[in-house]
């Protein structure tokens, strides 16, 4: 590979990493809810979008970025709690189809709410990260991209510590592992379900704010949610560390495919790669790289 070719490759690789960081965060949100409540939340992308828009509104009120973020996280945690309490709790024990559809219905409602209150136009999301780009050896990286990669990694590390050592984290793992035994040990699954949704919504918001920082703020942010599902499946729908690796793998493959195949195959490859990979992984290894293999002989 010539040095020019190498440069292009590295450039794509770095933007893939940044995109992958976002996917990893959204995928973690999917996995958290799936693992503890057994629900695949199709409204994850919309939670992300609402988070970014709420943060945008706070910042419009001239609230400094970091305080705005904290306020947004409180709002989104409350939102997660409420969604679980109002819409998902009555669905416990109902067929999977109904649960899937209720989250899809919620995502439609969320999209329409955002369109009504904030309108559908694209906006620049004013982020506090310095505008200067860093360049070494011809490769250009924006500081927002670096922030995304670092924040995603930190959150992942934080969560693995949380699951390992904190009381709530251990209780969540216990509920996911065996709900009845957890209940016998004095853990309330309902409380755990509520917390899973709240935490997942917080993670989605962080992902949404970061994604808005490296792209722009628009109603299309929500579609990133659907595009992160492949990341969650590749990593394994019930594996938190898997979602991290799956997110980065997906981000890198997608960006590379977009960079190299777009011209020969006529555009739009970046959007479709994730779904092609999703189909492939569902055929070969539906439980993903790190998920638990469910054995069923029917």
């Amino acid at each position: 590979m010539s040095s020019k070719g190498m440069e292009i490759f590295l450039q794509l690789f770095i933007s893939g990493l940044a995109l992958g960081g976002i996917y990893a965060l959204v995928a973690l949100g999917f996995v958290l809810i799936y693992k503890s409540t057994g629900v695949l939340n199709f409204a994850q992308g919309e939670l992300m979008m609402i988070g970014a828009f709420v943060c945008f509104s706070f910042m419009n009120l001239k609230i400094p970025f970091y305080i705005a973020i904290i306020m947004t996280l409180i709002v989104s945690a409350t939102l997660g709690f409420l969604i679980e309490r109002i819409f998902l709790r009555p669905m416990v024990g109902k067929p999977i189809f109904a649960v899937v559809m209720i989250t899809i219905g919620l995502s439609e409602m969320a999209q329409s709410i955002v369109e009504i209150f904030w309108t559908a136009e694209d906006r620049v999301f004013e982020n506090p990260f310095p505008k200067e780009v860093i360049s070494f050896g011809g490769i250009v990286i924006s500081q927002a991209q670096i922030t995304v990669i670092i924040v995603a990694t930190l959150i992942m590390m934080g969560f693995s510590l949380f699951f390992k050592y904190s009381r709530l984290g251990i209780a969540m793992r216990a509920t996911a592992f065996d709900q009845k035994s957890a209940q016998l040990m004095g853990i309330s699954p309902k409380r755990i379900f509520g917390f899973s949704w709240a935490i997942s919504s917080v993670i989605a918001t962080i992902g949404g704010v970061l994604l808005a920082s490296i792209t722009w703020l628009s109603i299309k942010l929500g579609s990133a949610g659907l595009r992160s599902i492949p990341a969650a499946v590749v990593g394994g729908l019930d594996s938190t560390s898997g979602s991290f690796i799956g997110g980065f793998i997906l981000g890198i493959i997608e960006t590379l495919a977009g960079g190299y195949l777009d011209r020969p195959l006529g555009g739009g490859i970046k959007e479709i790669t994730a779904y092609a990979i999703l189909l492939l992984i569902l055929f070969i290894r539906p439980y993903g790289l790190f998920g638990t293999k469910e054995i069923e002989r029917v």
């Binding site: 799936y34 695949l40 819409f87 009555p90 669905m91 109902k94 999977i96 189809f97 109904a98 899937v100 559809m101 209720i102 899809i104 219905g105 919620l106 995502s107 439609e108 409602m109 969320a110 999209q111 329409s112 709410i113 369109e115 009504i116 659907l226 599902i229 492949p230 499946v233 729908l237 195959l265 006529g266 555009g267 739009g268 959007e271 479709i272 779904y275 092609a276 999703l278 189909l279 569902l282 055929f283 539906p286 029917v298």
Partner: protein, 350 residues
């Protein structure tokens, strides 16, 4: 004696399509009503009714797969797209008449359905939903990017259907043409569900393990269900193409799939009649919202903004799905049955 009259004495009697002469009477009145509607309503409403007919075909197809066989599909838009594009390409480029393109659309869609159904051998629940979603996204992508075949983002125009020089180029003519097709579609679906195949579908939905144990070939029947369902969707897509006279990739996004799922949820899962109710309600919903908003506009001037109304539609849509799932999971049909039994035994509760 009256008890005996209520009871069914043989299986044949139990699966009879028209249980009583009374229901037959209602059916005849309903058919008469449907046949004279085009002379009552204006062109705008009539064009909505033509769309409703297309939706009925597609909703019955989805209900066979999801309501009767229990396989979740988020890919209905993909099958509709396959049907529409098949019709558009064959009708425009080869000039084939509709009575060839329409079945052809169904068949090609069924073949695609067979392929999309393959993962259902291994997957179920969320995973199956995801694989159908991925399929639908890939079809949408092909419709955008395979420009030489599909015309890309500009889409394709479709000539009106014709038989021996007679063109179905007005809403009224299309309405009557599609009524005939809808009629056959309903009869066919009703009859499939009364046979061995239909019973196998329902068994798979209720418990795949037990149906395997009693000797139902899961692979065969799951794939068959996918094929029948996508055949219907292909016919519906073809009907859409002829109604719109023009198709473009953005007609077939994920929202369309959600719309179809909403139809069978609102109407009632696992019920042909329910699919019809659902298709009618969901297709006419935007218009109803528009009319109500127009009336309310005099009270609340903000509702006069067409922009806001179009945004509200999506909200009401999601809201209806959620409310039905939470409060009335059997759909309108279940509601109707409950009201009926309530009045039958009134003033007693049972």
């Amino acid at each position: 004696m009256s008890v005996l009259k209520e009871c069914k004495l043989s299986y044949r009697e139990d699966i009879k399509i028209f249980q009583t002469n009374f229901s037959l009477f209602w059916l005849y009145s309903f058919i008469t009503f449907i046949l004279i509607i085009p002379f009552i309503v204006d062109r705008h409403i009539l064009s909505l009714l033509v769309f409703t007919e297309c939706a009925v075909i597609g909703a019955i197809g989805l209900n066979i797969l999801t309501g009767f066989t229990g396989q979740i599909s988020l890919g209905q838009a993909g099958f509709l797209a396959v049907g529409s594009y098949t019709t558009a390409i064959f009708a425009k480029k080869l000039g084939l008449p509709f009575y060839i393109t329409m079945p052809l659309s169904g068949i090609i869609s069924a073949i695609i359905g067979l392929i999309v159904g393959l993962p259902s051998i291994k997957l179920k629940g969320f995973y199956l939903a995801l694989s159908t979603l991925a399929f639908s996204k890939i079809i949408e992508h092909l419709a955008y990017r395979w420009v030489s075949l599909t015309g890309g983002a500009f889409g394709l125009d479709v000539p009106p259907p014709s038989i021996a020089g007679y063109y179905f180029n007005t809403e009224r003519r299309l309405y009557y043409l599609f009524i005939v097709i809808v009629f056959f579609v309903i009869i066919y679906a009703k009859n499939i569900l009364r046979t061995k195949v239909g019973r196998a579908f329902i068994a798979i939905r209720d418990s795949d393990i037990s149906s395997k144990v009693i000797g139902i070939n899961l692979i065969k029947y799951k794939l068959l269900s996918f094929m029948i369902s996508s055949f219907y969707a292909g016919i519906a897509g073809s009907a859409y193409a002829y109604t719109l006279n023009f198709i473009a990739p953005d007609h077939f996004n994920i929202f369309l799939s959600v719309e179809y799922i909403a139809m069978i949820i609102v109407g009632g899962l696992g019920s042909i009649l329910g699919s019809i109710y659902g298709a009618i309600v969901i297709t006419l919903l935007p218009e109803t919202i528009r009319i109500i908003a127009g009336k309310m506009g005099t009270l609340f001037p903000i509702l006069n903004e067409a922009y806001l109304v179009s945004k509200m539609q999506k909200f009401i849509f999601g809201f209806i799905i959620v409310i039905f799932l939470l409060l009335e999971p059997t759909g309108l049909r279940g509601l109707w049955e409950r009201v009926k039994t309530y009045w039958k035994s009134w003033p007693f509760t049972y």
